[in-house]
Each structure stands twice: as structure tokens, then as C-alpha cells.
Amino acid sequence: MKILIIEDEPALSSSIAAYLKAEKFHCETADDLQTAASKVHAFDYDCILLDISLPDGNGLQLLKELKLNGKTDGVIIISAKSSLEEKINGLQLGADDYIAKPFYLSELSARIAAVIRRRKFNGAETLVLNELSINFAAKTAYVLGKPVYLTRTEYDLLLYMVVNKNRVLSKNALAACLSDIVTGGFNEFIYSHIKNLKKKLTAAGCSDYIKTMYGTGYKFEIDT
């Protein structure tokens, strides 16, 4: 999978690339509109991460161009949190999703996976991890072929951890995947939901892949 990261802040783009490389994504970066434009014209990408505030112009301009050429699939815009207009404009111009700075890499990774899923398989993919399989279209998890009843929250958490498998995920990052509302002090509820999720999976015969890290973080540990 090829990803283009259009971001002028090198610390950010390198961090994103570092995280995604482990997911076996091939990452390219561009730090201004011009470089980005030439890259987009030259290659096709599975997903494009587009930062709105670029030094030589507004990222939305590139989005407009892409739309004109019918190439807007797989664009995730990165905007500043305080700018609602940018988010609305971007989505109206045909971007698939948006993520606001500051963000968690694990959340970005989950959104990229979702965008690619929608694009490549119309969301009809099934992910198989040993005895666990997830049917995205039906939003159902199966263990040994049998469906497991999960609440919406539990399904979202499972999906998030599976996409970011073998990564240490902090409570805050997990909370961020469930709710757009970023507030401090509310992240303890993750604990009870994960506990229920683990119970349900193991009860269905799944190995216990969800590991608690140092008491406050989690990791979906699996050999693939």
C-alpha cells in the first residue's frame, strides 16, 4: 500500500512514516504544494494524508485539483482543531475523512485502514487473524466461525486494536477512537469496556490477545 504524506512539519511527517512503515505501508512525503502536486500527478496512491496549512498555499487547493481530475479517493485531511470551516470545506470538496491536530498515530492508522477498506473493497473485506475474524460490512466479530455479540463500543475498540496490532496503545488513544470529545479525566471508562471485551472473546474460545500494559495501556499481541 502506498501512502503520500503531505505535511510541512518534518517531525510530524517522519513520525507518521515511522509508525506506518511497521504496518507494511510504503510512505512518501511531500512538504509543500508543488512537490505534492507533482507526486500526485506522477503516481497513484492508496491514501493521501493532506495537511491543510502548507507554506505555499492552502491544502484545499490541491484537493480541488484532485477533484477536478477525479482523483479524490483516499484523501484524509489534517486540520487544526480550532478550524471548523476547514473540516467542513474539506469534506465538501470530496475528502474521505479528516483528522484534527494533535492526533494519535494509532487513530490516524485506523482511519487510513478504514479509507483503504472503503476504497479497495467497498468495505466488504474480512480480516482474519488466526481464530478471530472480523466482517467489516456486518460489523461483526467471529471466533472460530461463530459470531460474538459485542456492543458498539466493544466492536470499535476491538477493531481499533486489531488495526494497530502489536502496538502499545495508551488509554487516551483508545478513548480518542471512541469519541470525538477530547476531555481529560474521562478515560477510565476504557478499562471496564476492555474487560468486558476480553471476557466475551475468551468465552467464545478466542486466545487472549489483548494484553494490559503496565496497568494503564493495552496491546493486541498476535503473531502473524
Binding site: 480550532s82 492526533f103 498515530l105 502499545v168 488509554k171 481529560g184 471508562f189
Partner: protein, 422 residues
């Protein structure tokens, strides 16, 4: 009082006094002049008669008949003999008009053939009276017309002269600095108003410049402030993935991530406050506030769940609001967040609405809050509940921006915030 009314008052006062004084004065002056004329005529007549008398030959017989004229009468003098001229006004009954008419009479004694005769000369005052009345009335009417006409002309001129001024005032009334406009005026002939317009134009141009530079400053700051926080958050997340990672290292990193998140939230809050202060949220739309409340309650369901808080939604009817939708979402979100955060475990939140207000009531984990400091910045900030201390302050600021009411009261051991829309 309006300028033109002041002018009108003075003018009417002056005109009133002028008319009230002039007409009587005119009447009496004309009266006096005419009377004097009449008397002078009578005296002239007397002189003529006296000279005619002296032309009579001493031995010529004298008969009254020579001097038979209307208004002239001879009669033998009776004692006492008055030598001097005497003027008087006598009323004669006129058979033609069937009314009494005034006459001016000159009575004097003349000697004919050394015999004294009473000479009476009369002149009718009737015509004169009517003439004077007519003249005074004519002059009065002309004066009145003149003054009225002058007044009308002045007034209509005034209205025209002040038109550009009122236009300027109209434009100023609609001027809002956040509309970011510069006022342009068309050329006008009155120097003073032209100068006023020029000054206003420069003022608005300067304001627009300042506003623009402040806006771009805020936009720049927005980008710059979030970048370090974003980098920090992302690097910490990568650090979390490094191996080997001890428990102690993990905890340190987790704490750092919490703090970074807090910093990010704080930055966003301060930025929002600055933008509101700078009147940057000008665009508004009509939408349902009730729908937003419902939406937010759904979004906060997870948070409420943690503290086992039950949220009761009882919205009566739909409240339509004209404002910036994002701001209203922040405002209501903060009120809801507050209701959940400053609540005891297992508590409740009640959201009810009436025709144009929504009330957020929550069971109190503590005593009543101080209304005076409640909406200030960083009030209620505590490490325990992890809030920024800005939630209510921002909500109040947004409410004030649109002149919505946001009140707090403590009723039946519950905190209640009432949001009143226009």
C-alpha cells in the same frame, strides 16, 4: 431636541412676537397719521374760510348760503366765546345707513362784520376707519404669508441639507467592525459633512486594517501553537513502542501524554476565546438547538456511563437558533460536560426545555457554587477532575456574544444552568 425643531421654535417665537408687536403698532401709527391729516385738512379749510371772509366787503351783506357745503356750518356764536380751535369726535345718525357714524369736528369762532359766528367744520371718519382696518389687515396677511413662506422654504432647505448627515448616521449604525468593511461616501457639497465623511472613512479603513492583522495573527498563532503539541504527542506515542520499556518508563510516558493532551485542550480553549473576542465568528445560520442537545447527549453517553450518571432528556418542542453553529455546539457541549463532570457517581443530569430556554440540572457533588466567580477564567480548575477551568467561561462568553442569557442557581440540592435564547 432635533436641530430643526430648535430652529422652528426660535423662528416661531420671533415671528409671533414680531406679528404681535407690529400689527398693533401699525394700526395705531396709521390711525395717528390719518387723524393728524384730517385735522390738518380741517385747519386748512378754516384758514381758507377765514381768508375768504376777510375778502367780504365791509358793507356787503353776509349770508350763510355762500358757504353752504357739507361739513360746514355757521351759526351765531353763543356765549361763552371760545377763541381757540377745538377738535372733537361726534356721532351723527345717518339716515341712509341707518346707523351712527363718527365725524371729526373742528369748532372755532370767526368774526364777520365784527359779529362772532360759531364755525363748525366736520370730516367723516367712516371711510377712514374702514380704510385703516383694510390696510392693516392687508399688511398683516402679507406679513403672515411672507413669514410662513420663508419658514417653509427654510425648513425644506434644512431637511435637504441634513440628508447627507442622516445618511452618514445610518451607515454608522450598520457599521460593525467584524463585518470588516470600509465605509465609502459619495461626494457632497456641504463642507462640514464632507469632512465628517472623510474622517469616518479613514477611521473605518484603519479599523479594517487592524482587524485583518489581528485575524491573521490569530490564524498564525493557531498553526504555530498546535504544531509543538502535535509533535510531542506523536513522538511520545512512538516512544511508547520502543523496546525494552520498563513499567516506570511507561508510566512516565503515559503521564507526559496526559499532560500533552491537556496542553492541547488548553491551547484550543484560549484560541477560541481569542477568536470570539476578535469577533471572528460572523457567519450564522438557522438551526435547531434542540437537535444539537440531542446529538451531544449521544456523544457524551460514554462519559456519563463511566460515572453511572443517568441523563434525562425532556425537550418540549423545537428551539430554532440563528447563530454560528459550531459555537453553539461548544457552548452546549461545555454545559453538558460540566453537568457530568461536577456530578457525583450515580448521579443524574436533567435537561429540560421550554419555549425559548434550556435548563441543565445536575445533582451536586458539593455545595452551591458562587455565582459571582462561577463564569470566570480558570474557576473550578482542579487536578482531580481534569478540567481546564475554562468550560463555563467559554460558554458564558458565547452566550454573551449572542446576548443569550446564561444563569446559574442552586435549587433542591441541584446545580441548574438555564440557557435562554432570544
Amino acid at each position: 431636541m432635533k436641530l430643526i425643531d430648535r430652529y422652528t421654535r426660535s423662528y416661531i417665537g420671533y415671528a409671533g412676537i414680531m406679528l404681535a408687536v407690529t400689527i398693533p403698532v401699525l394700526y395705531f401709527s396709521v390711525q395717528f397719521l390719518v387723524a393728524r391729516r384730517i385735522d390738518q385738512n380741517l385747519l386748512r379749510q378754516k384758514k381758507m374760510i377765514v381768508s375768504s371772509i376777510s375778502n367780504i366787503a365791509p358793507n356787503e351783506p353776509f349770508t350763510h348760503t355762500i358757504f353752504l357745503e357739507p361739513g360746514l356750518s355757521f351759526s351765531p356764536a353763543v356765549l361763552p366765546i371760545t377763541e381757540s380751535d377745538k377738535f372733537s369726535v361726534v356721532q351723527h345718525f345717518d339716515t341712509t345707513d341707518n346707523d351712527y357714524e363718527p365725524w371729526r369736528v373742528l369748532t372755532t369762532t370767526v368774526y364777520i362784520h365784527r359779529k362772532p359766528y360759531l364755525l363748525e367744520l366736520s370730516s367723516s371718519l367712516l371711510d377712514k376707519e374702514e380704510l385703516i382696518a383694510g390696510i392693516v389687515l392687508m399688511v398683516g396677511i402679507i406679513l403672515l404669508l411672507f413669514m410662513t413662506g420663508l419658514f417653509a422654504i427654510n425648513r425644506s432647505l434644512s431637511v435637504n441639507i441634513w440628508k447627507p448627515f442622516y445618511r452618514t448616521i445610518g451607515m454608522l449604525n450598520n457599521y460593525k467592525i467584524e463585518k470588516d468593511e470600509v465605509l465609502f461616501f459619495e461626494k457632497i457639497k456641504v463642507d462640514e459633512f464632507a469632512e465628517l465623511n472623510t474622517v469616518i472613512h479613514s477611521l473605518t479603513a484603519r479599523n479594517a486594517e487592524v482587524f485583518e492583522s489581528q485575524k491573521s495573527f490569530i490564524e498564525n498563532v493557531s498553526h504555530e501553537m498546535q504544531t509543538p503539541v502535535a509533535i510531542q504527542q506523536v513522538k511520545l506515542e512512538l516512544l511508547l513502542q520502543t523496546q525494552p520499556l520498563s513499567a516506570a518508563q511507561y508510566r512516565l510516558i503515559a503521564d507526559l501524554m496526559d499532560n500533552t493532551q491537556q496542553a492541547g485542550i488548553l491551547h484550543n480553549c484560549m484560541l477560541l476565546l481569542a477568536k470570539i473576542d476578535n469577533r471572528q465568528f460572523r457567519d450564522a445560520e438557522l438551526f435547531s438547538a434542540s437537535a444539537i442537545v440531542e446529538n451531544l447527549v449521544e456523544q457524551y453517553a460514554l462519559q456519563a456511563d463511566l460515572k453511572k450518571i443517568v441523563v434525562n432528556l425532556a425537550l418540549a418542542g423545537d428551539i430554532q437558533v440563528q447563530a454560528n453553529k459550531g459555537l453553539i455546539e461548544v457552548m452546549i457541549g461545555n454545559l453538558l460536560n460540566n453537568a457530568i463532570r461536577h456530578n457525583s457517581t450515580g448521579g443524574s443530569v436533567q435537561i429540560s426545555s421550554s419555549k425559548n430556554s434550556i435548563a441543565f440540572t445536575n445533582s451536586a457533588a458539593d455545595g452551591p457554587l458562587d455565582e459571582n466567580t462561577l463564569f470566570q477564567r480558570f474557576h473550578g480548575k482542579s487536578a482531580l477532575n481534569g478540567g481546564t477551568g475554562l468550560g463555563l467561561h467559554i460558554a458564558k462568553k458565547i452566550a454573551d456574544l449572542y446576548e443569550f442569557g446564561l444563569r446559574y442557581d442552586f435549587v433542591s440540592l441541584q446545580h441548574r444552568f438555564t440557557l435562554t435564547f432570544l
